[in-house]
Structures are given as structure tokens and as C-alpha cells.
């Protein structure tokens, strides 16, 4: 078992697949010789060749467009969009093309491609390097949206994504690249090497899509989280000394509804936390599902903890970020409710 950061785990997943399968190609802006602005593809070009890991023009629509054509022609492209904030020029190719190709051709053509992109704030990225646009993608039928919270899951989920025969959007919480982050930016950062989920097996393994992971186990409350918020939730549970299930959803679409329902029926209380803006955020969908499936088990109204409905500000980053304080208030409210 090796100790890896999330960057190394992601790189290792691509390395494993490129070694196993010549159909796997990696490309995007600055991913080739340089190895990517976050270093996720460092060394892949040198090891696997210029024609298997290469730079593209600054053209997100073009990047996803060629990935669709390659995937339809039997390859397994892994395209990187440098920041999720830059994915919008590719939205038409993702929403109207990659996600619809199987359906509109009735299975005649498919697009088994993976799009990797860093999401979330916490690195002073401001409005254009911090966004969490997952809800814009979970609304698209035919697409899968995945978001790991640790190196072990990142590697296993990315291998699953590459092997999946449908298009997968693989969101990488950039604040978690180098270590688990509990939301307290004033504390010295901790690396993954000292965390048990930084232990990553060598070689090939998968983490199934559509399966949640239970981070903590308890009886009084369920917290539904994904990405960076998983570690904020874990810290709040620990600091408050409460007995709670923290579910790391890992895959947003398809979603592990069974795990959610089982937990909420047990605890009777549900807090949903995400970093993305509130209105029409994925929390709205989760809240509706919990209400539909667990209404008679609920002892208090569902609480949502989110970023505000503003662009991600720069100087006010930590006022926007849904950290421990915001989650603690929501937990107190829901625990007080009769």
C-alpha cells in the first residue's frame, strides 16, 4: 500500500489505465509536457508517449468535441478541463452530444469518455477558479457525475469512470488535492500521507459508481455531503460530540438513494451540505428525495447548508465558504427541533 495525495492517486489511475489499455488517451490544456497546472498528468507523456498524453488548444468545446469523436470510434479518452469554471464552452458538447449520443442513435453509437475537472474554492481562486457547477450536470440525463473526497476513492472511481461505457464527469475538489480540509483555513494544512484514505493500493482496483461511503456512523442525525464538505461535516460531528451518519455520496448521478434512505429512516434528521450556491443546487434534489422517501420518519425539517447565491468572492472567500460554523448552526437547529 502506497501513501498518495489525491493528485498522485488521480495520476496513478490514469497511469494504470494507460498501461493496461492502449485505447486510453489523456489530453487537455497544459497536460502534456508540463503535466497540468495541478500536476495531475505529470510524467504521463514521458512514460506513455506524445501521442497518448498531449496538449490541446485553449478550446473546451473542442476538447470535449474530439473526445466524443474518439470515444465513438473505440478509444477511451480522458479529457481535462483546467477549471470547472471554464467548462461552459463545452456545455453543448456535454449536454446535447456526449450525453445524448447513445439515446438518439438507440445504441448505434456511444461516447465512453471521461471529463476530469477541478471544482470548489478554498484556494483564493475568486469567481473564475472556485465554482461547483455539479447541479448543471446532474440535470442531464445520459451523463454520470462523480466527485471523490479522498485519494483512495479518487483512484478507484476514476478507473471506474474510464471503464464505464457512458460519459462520466469526474469532479475533483481542488482544496482536497493535497490533504483533507476541515474548513478551518487558519489551521496548518495536513497532508493525505497521515490519513487512512491516503493509503492507496498499487495497480488496478475500482470503487463502484453509485455507492455512497459512510464516513462516521451514528444514530441522531444524517449529514449528506460530497467533495470538500465531507471533511467539514466529519469535523463538526467530532467537535460537537454528536452521534451522526456522515454519508459521502461520491456519485451524484446515479445516486445511492438506498444508503440515504436507510440512514435517514434510522436517524430521523437530515442536514445536506454543499459548497455550491443554494438555489437549484443539488441539495434541493437531495432534500426532495429525502422528503419523498422518508417523510414519516422525519422528526425535524431538513436543513440545507450551502454557499450563498453570489458569485464566489475573492477577499470574502471564507465568508462564502460553508464551513464548520455554518454547519454547526444548522445541526444545532435541527437537533433542537421537536
Amino acid at each position: 500500500m502506497a501513501k498518495m495525495s489525491m493528485i498522485e492517486a488521480i495520476r496513478d489511475a490514469m497511469d494504470v489505465k494507460m498501461t493496461e489499455d492502449r485505447d486510453v488517451l489523456v489530453f487537455g490544456e497544459d497536460v502534456g509536457y508540463f503535466g497540468g497546472v495541478f500536476r495531475c498528468t505529470a510524467g504521463l507523456q514521458e512514460k506513455h508517449g506524445l501521442h497518448r498524453c498531449f496538449d490541446t488548444p485553449i478550446s473546451e468545446g473542442g476538447i470535449v468535441g474530439i473526445a466524443i469523436g474518439m470515444a465513438a470510434n473505440g478509444l477511451r479518452p480522458v479529457a481535462e478541463i483546467q477549471f470547472a469554471d471554464y467548462i461552459y464552452p463545452a456545455y453543448d458538447q456535454i449536454a446535447s452530444e456526449a450525453s445524448r449520443l447513445r439515446y438518439r442513435s438507440n445504441g448505434d453509437f456511444t461516447a465512453p469518455l471521461t471529463i476530469r475537472t477541478p471544482v470548489g474554492g478554498g484556494i483564493y481562486g475568486g469567481t473564475t477558479h472556485s465554482q461547483s457547477p455539479e447541479a448543471l450536470f446532474t440535470h442531464i440525463s445520459g451523463l454520470k457525475t462523480v466527485i471523490p473526497s479522498n485519494p483512495y476513492d479518487a483512484k478507484g472511481l476514476l478507473i471506474s469512470a474510464i471503464e464505464d461505457n457512458d460519459p462520466v464527469l469526474f469532479l475533483e475538489p481542488k482544496r482536497l488535492y493535497n490533504g483533507p480540509f476541515d474548513g478551518d483555513h487558519q489551521k496548518p494544512s495536513v497532508g493525505w500521507k497521515s490519513h487512512e484514505l491516503g493509503e492507496v493500493p498499487e495497480g488496478h482496483y475500482t470503487v463502484p459508481l453509485a455507492k455512497a461511503r459512510k464516513i462516521t456512523e451514528g444514530n441522531d442525525l444524517t449529514i449528506l455531503a460530497y467533495g470538500t464538505m465531507v471533511w467539514v461535516a466529519e469535523a463538526v460531528v467530532k467537535n460537537m460530540g454528536i452521534s451522526a451518519d456522515v454519508l459521502d455520496l461520491r456519485s451524484l448521478l446515479p445516486l445511492d438513494l438506498d444508503a440515504i434512505v436507510e440512514s435517514v429512516k434510522k436517524t430521523g434528521r437530515c442536514v445536506i451540505i454543499h459548497e455550491a450556491t443554494r438555489t437549484s443546487g443539488f441539495g434541493g434534489e437531495l432534500s426532495a428525495l429525502v422528503q419523498e422517501h422518508c417523510f414519516y420518519y422525519l422528526e425535524a425539517p431538513i436543513q440545507r447548508v450551502t454557499g450563498w447565491d453570489t458569485p464566489y468572492p475573492h477577499a470574502q472567500e471564507w465568508a462564502f465558504f460553508p464551513g464548520q460554523k455554518r454547519l454547526t448552526r444548522a445541526v444545532k437547529t435541527i437537533m433542537k427541533a421537536a
Binding site: 478550446s59 466524443i68 478509444l75 452530444e97 447513445r102 438518439r104 457512458d166 453509485a210 446515479p254 445516486l255
Partner: protein
Amino acid sequence: MGQSAENKARAERNLSNQSKLFVPEPQFRPGDTPDYSHISIPTNHSPNRPDPLCDAHDTVEHALKLIRVLRFNGETEGEWKPDLSADKMREGLRHMMRTRAMDERMFTMQRQGKMSFYMKSTGEEAVSVGHAMALRDDDMTFPTYRQQGILIARGASMKEMMCQVLSNSGDPLDGKSIPVLYSFKKHGFFSISGNLATQLIQGVGWAMAEAYKNTDGIASVFTGEGATAEGDFHYALNFASTYRAPCIINVVNNQWAISSFQGIAAGRGETFAARGTGYGLATLRVDGNDMLAVYAATKWAAERARNGGGATIIEHYTYRKEGHSTSDDPSKYRPENEGDVWPFGDPVERLKNHLIHIEEWTQEKHDALAEELKKEVRETFKAAEAMGSVANSTQLPDNTMFEQVYETEPDHLLRQREMFKGEIG
């Protein structure tokens, strides 16, 4: 259209700009008498035919000229004249006439309510048929919605095509797509998207995959001139140039994008082919109503792509003789007889005249073939219609709508399938 011709047209129609903002307008609108005497038909016919592996720069002039082979008097002329036997030319003529016969019947049947929608390719048959005949059958084409001639030329089942249009139980797509958005992988015909130009860059990706796999396969992608304004067109030219993708990028300039004339997309650009010059692509501009010229230009570009010379952009200069679709009435925005006076003639007539000129065809044989095809189309449609239509019953189970969203149906769709079951009782 030249600037002076356009200004004159504007003045005559009292359309002078009221501000500094310039908005282009076509030369003729309903009620005008169209006059195309300003469009010069090259009399020396064609620019030279360079070696297909020439420097892209050697084709800069070809983007501004017009490759032509068929003269109106039935003769052929110039360096681009392809080496096609009379049999092959008769085959091409038959494919074009068969495409047209099917289009005619489908249009009429749509008017009778048998289907929701249809799109004819009348006047543009030489582009799809000539192009397909010059490619290998396993070269993947990424067509838009007026290249049904590719399917006809590649021997697709007309009944299957009709069942797709009827959205019935014989539709290979199970009614998931609207009429004419065919998908026939077995005939090298990529699933057509209703979103325009998106497939150009996908075709470039397909071609890059062929190169990666070290095959000699190529891709051929299509757009109308109107959708060259989409970003995807520029992605395609850029990526095709950067990675020397073995592909052909076809712009079918049929003058009209629904009601918008080509000047809305063209801006002050020289020609659509010339868009390729700045990207360092080979550029050809061809008389799209001349099947032999389309064939020759395609052969050249395919040879270039197959042998590592990279991509070519071909502008097929033609005219959309009918409405955009069955939902469109072109008499609302252009003169009714504009298509008849279009100076490049009709592609079927032009090839027919050539075959008659070289004594390989007669008007009698032509009329007999037209009659035979009409009969075939009518009978095929009867058989297709027996498998259902939107007019009565498509004979397609509704719950097929849940299939092929993903490879494996996820839980949330299984739950929705159950909800739907409850809805239908």
C-alpha cells in the same frame, strides 16, 4: 454578393440603413425578379488540379475559384474531370434520382399527416451522392440533415430510412429521434444531431482516432454555410489543422439557412472555403450542382487525408431549391422562382445531359428510370407504413423511451419506469 450589387439592391428596395449599424440583406425578396447575372460562371471552368499532397498554400486560389467539370451543353472539361466509367456515372445518376424520388414522396406523405416532419435535399443531391461515391464505404461521414444521398449511395435500406421517418416499429432508432436524423453505423453514417455544427469537431476527433490507430480511414464532416458561424466550426478547423487530422470538412453553401441568406453567416469573408486558409488547411470550392466536380474534389481531399496530408475544407456551392423543412414556407422570404433561375442549373439534368451527350443515355431511358423509381418508392413506403406511423399508431411501446439512456438502467430510471406503469394503469 459583391458590395456594390448589395448596395444597389438595398437602395432599390428602399432599405437604406438608418444608422451606422450595417445589417446585410439578400439581393432579392418576395416580389422581386431575381437576376443572377452578376454571378460569373467560370468559362475557363476550373483552377488547376495540384498534387493532392501539395502544400496547403498552393490551394489558396482554389478557395476563391470554382471547380467545375460539366458544361451546360453536356461536355466535360478541365483537369478535374474524373476517370469515371459510364456505368459509374449512370449509377450516380440513379442514386440522385432515387434520393429525389424518396424526398418527393416523403414530402407529400408529410402533407397527408403520415409523419411529423421531413426535410428534402432537392437540388443538392450531387453533393451527397458525388461525395459518397468518391469515399470508401467505411469512411465515417458526419452528415447534417440534407445528406440522405450518402445513405442511398451506400445502399442503405430505403424501407429502414422510411421507418425512421415514420417513427414506427421498423425504425432502427425506436422513434427516439425526429424524422431524417438518421443513424447508420453500418453505412458509415454518424448519428445526426439537431444541434448544428456540433458534429464537425466530433468528426475531427474520429479522424484523430483513425490516425492514432494507424489506419488509413478518414472522416468526412458536413455543415451548411449558416452554421459555420458556430464556434464548433472554428474548433474543427483549428483542431484539424493542429493535429493534421485525416478528414474532409464540407460546407454545403446552399445560400439559405432557413430564412437567412448566406451573407448573414459570411460577413465580409471572401468565400466559405477561404475560412480554411487562415488555419493552414487545403481549400477547395466546387460547383455543388456538378456531380463530377464534387466527386473529383472529394477524391482529391480523400487522397490527401489518407496519405497524411491533413484536412481539406470543401465549399460545395449550390442552392436549396425547396423550403428548409416541411415546417417552412420559403415564399415568405425569397422570390418563388429564385431556384429556377439559379444559374448553376439542376444536378440531375446536368449529369443526364452529359450522359446523353456521350451517347450513354437517352431521354426515354431517363423517363423510364424516373417512373421505375417512383413506383419503387411508392411500394416501399406502403411496406414501411404498414409498420406504423404517428398518424395512427407508431406500434412502438412507450416504455422503450426508458432504454438506451445509459448502458445499464440506473435505479432512478427503474423507479420512474414503475411510476409510468402506474400512470398507464
